[in-house]
C-alpha cells in the first residue's frame, strides 16, 4: 500500500469514528488533536487503521507521533517490513 492509500485509510477511520468531521478538508500535516478528536477517539482511529492493515504495533510507538503524517509514516513503515 502506498502512503497516499494509507492516508485515505486513516481518513476513512476518522470518518467512521468521528462522523462529524468532514475529511475532505483534512490535511496530512494536521494532528488529530487539531481536528478536535478526543483522546479515546484518537486511540480508536489508530487501532482501526492497524486492524485494517492487519498490523500489530505497540501503542506507545504512536505516542511519539506529532500529526497525521506521522501516523501514516509509522503505518507505512510497519506495513512494508
Amino acid at each position: 500500500m502506498t502512503k497516499e492509500q494509507i492516508f485515505e485509510l486513516v481518513k476513512n477511520s476518522i470518518r467512521e469514528m468521528v462522523p462529524e468531521i468532514n475529511t475532505d478538508n483534512v490535511r496530512i500535516e494536521q494532528s488529530l488533536r487539531d481536528l478536535g478528536v478526543n483522546s479515546i477517539d484518537r486511540m480508536d482511529i489508530v487501532i482501526k487503521c492497524m486492524e485494517d492493515l492487519n498490523l500489530k504495533i505497540p501503542l506507545v510507538e504512536f505516542g511519539k507521533v506529532k500529526n497525521i503524517a506521522g501516523i501514516v509514516e509509522l503505518l507505512y513503515e510497519k506495513s512494508t517490513q
Binding site: M17, V18, P19, E20, I40, M43, D44, I47, M50, E51, K56
Partner: protein, 430 residues
C-alpha cells in the same frame, strides 16, 4: 414526608418508542412479546420468547427532537456516536422526559441537577459480542471498551448530554433496580442535595449467556405457550409458568415541589413514599414477609393508610411462586380491604423489563391515573386467587388517586413506592 413531584416521563419499549405510543398500547392491551428467532439460535432451548425493542432508529428520533432543542440533539449525536444500543435507549428515554418536563440546560443550575441510573451489568451484550475477536486479536480491542464496560458510563455520558453537575451514580437492585433508583432520587431531593433528578431505568441488554442462565434456573416461561407468544405472559393466571424477558429504558424527571412550582411546570404525579426491605436471602426465592414490609414501609413513609390505596401495580412476573407470594403479601398488608384494591401487572404487556421494570411501571401508573383507566391483565382467565380484585382482560375505567407500585428482585430485594395523582390544571392556579 415531603412528596416529590414527577414532571417528566420518557420511555422506549417493545410496545412504544415514546410515552404517547406506550399509552396507546396500555389502553389497547397491546403485548410486545414475540419469538426471539434470531437469538434463540445461540441458546440451548427450543424457543425463547421476549418483548424486544424493534425498529428503533436513533437518528430518526433525534430528527424529531431537533425542532425543540437543537443543542441537545448535537450533544446527543456527539456523545453517543458509537454507544451501545442500550445507551441509546437510555438517552432517548431521558431526552423525552427532559423535554416533556420543559427543562432546558440554559435555564437550570447544573449543580442542582442529579442523575440516578438504575441497573447493573449493562454491558453484557457488548462483552459477549467483542469476545471472539478479543481471543484472536486482543490488540484490536477498542479503547472505548475501557469506558463502556463500567455501568457509570451511563452516568458520565448522560451527564454530559444534559449538562448535569450535581450528584450522580448507578444503583443496583436486580429486578427492583428501577424502584431503588426512584427511592434514592427522592432522597436526594428531600435532603435538598439537588432540586431536579433524572432517574433512568436501564434496558437489560442481555447476551445469550444471561438468557441461558435464566433458562437453566427455570425462571423463564414460554414453554407451554411457546407457539402463542401473546399468551405466554400470564401474571396471576393459573397457567402462568415463568417470566418473559422484556426490553425497555424509561426515565422520570423528579423534582422538588417548590422547584416545579417556581418554574410553573406541570406536576404529573407525586412520589409520596417508598421502601426497600431485604429478606436476608441470596437466592431467587420470594418472601411474603419482606414484600409485605416493603409495602407497609412505603405507606408509612408516605403517611398513608391502606384505605388510601386504590390500585396496586404488582410486580406480577407470571412465575407461579412469585405471583402467589405477592398475592399473600398483599392480603397480609390489606387484610379485609384486599378485595377493594385494583391490581394489574404491566409485565403482561411489556414482559419483565428487569432493571427498568420499576420505572416502566411507575410511568404506567402515572398514565393510568392521568387518563382514568386501568390496563388489562391480558391473559387472566383463571385467577390464582378469588379475593383479589384483579383487572380482567378488558380495560377498566377507574379513577385512581393513590397507588402502590411493587418491584421485587433476586437476592431478597423488596421495594414498593407510593404514587399519588398530580394536580389538575385548575388546582395549580389556586
Amino acid at each position: 414526608m415531603n412528596r416529590v413531584a414527577v414532571t417528566g416521563l420518557g420511555i422506549v419499549s417493545s410496545i412504544g418508542h415514546n410515552v404517547s405510543e406506550f399509552k396507546h398500547s396500555l389502553k389497547n392491551g397491546r403485548c410486545g412479546i414475540r419469538s426471539m428467532e434470531h437469538d434463540s439460535s445461540k441458546v440451548a432451548a427450543s424457543k425463547i420468547l421476549g418483548a424486544l425493542i424493534h425498529d428503533f432508529s436513533f437518528n430518526d428520533i433525534l430528527e424529531h427532537y431537533s425542532e425543540f432543542d437543537g443543542a441537545l440533539v448535537s450533544r446527543l449525536k456527539a456523545c453517543l456516536k458509537r454507544a451501545t444500543v442500550g445507551m441509546k435507549y437510555a438517552a432517548v428515554s431521558a431526552a423525552e422526559a427532559w423535554t416533556s418536563a420543559g427543562l432546558k440546560s440554559e435555564n437550570i443550575t447544573p449543580e442542582r441537577i442529579g442523575i440516578v441510573v438504575a441497573g447493573s451489568n449493562l454491558s453484557c451484550a457488548l462483552q459477549y459480542n467483542l469476545h471472539n475477536n478479543f481471543v484472536t486479536s486482543p490488540e484490536y480491542l477498542s479503547p472505548s471498551y475501557a469506558l463502556q464496560f463500567m455501568d457509570t458510563d451511563y452516568v458520565g455520558t448522560l451527564s454530559e448530554v444534559f449538562n448535569i453537575k450535581g450528584e450522580g451514580f448507578t444503583v443496583g437492585g436486580a429486578s427492583a433496580s428501577g424502584n431503588v433508583g426512584i427511592i434514592k432520587a427522592c432522597q436526594l431531593i428531600r435532603l435538598k442535595i439537588v432540586d431536579v433528578c433524572l432517574v433512568i431505568g436501564s434496558c437489560a441488554d442481555l447476551s445469550p449467556m444471561e438468557i441461558q442462565g435464566f433458562v437453566n434456573l427455570g425462571g423463564m416461561g414460554g414453554n407451554v405457550f411457546a407457539e402463542k407468544p401473546l399468551e405466554a405472559c400470564r401474571p396471576f393466571d393459573k397457567e402462568h409458568e415463568g417470566f418473559i424477558y422484556g426490553q425497555a429504558s424509561a426515565c422520570l424527571v423528579l423534582e422538588s415541589i417548590e422547584h416545579a412550582r417556581t418554574r410553573e411546570a406541570e406536576i404529573l404525579s407525586y412520589i409520596s413514599g417508598g421502601a426497600i426491605a431485604l429478606d436476608a436471602n441470596r437466592l431467587s426465592t420470594p418472601c411474603e414477609d419482606g414484600e409485605a414490609r416493603a409495602m407497609t414501609g412505603a405507606l408509612g413513609e408516605a403517611g398513608l393508610k391502606i384505605t388510601d390505596i386504590d390500585y396496586i401495580n404488582a410486580h406480577g412476573t407470571s412465575t407461579p411462586l412469585g405471583d402467589i407470594t405477592e398475592v399473600n403479601a398483599i392480603k397480609k398488608v390489606f387484610g379485609s380491604r384486599t378485595g377493594e384494591v385494583w391490581i394489574n401487572s404491566t409485565k403482561g404487556l411489556t414482559g419483565h423489563c428487569l432493571y427498568s421494570a420499576g420505572v416502566v411501571e411507575a410511568i404506567a401508573v402515572i398514565i393510568q391515573m392521568k387518563e382514568n383507566f386501568l390496563h388489562p391483565n391480558l391473559n387472566l382467565y383463571t385467577p390464582i386467587d378469588n379475593e383479589c380484585r384483579f383487572c380482567n382482560r378488558q380495560i377498566v375505567e377507574a379513577e385512581v388517586r393513590t397507588a402502590l407500585s411493587n418491584s421485587f428482585g433476586f437476592g431478597g430485594i423488596n421495594t414498593s413506592v407510593v404514587i399519588e395523582k398530580g394536580e389538575q390544571p385548575q388546582e395549580r392556579k389556586r
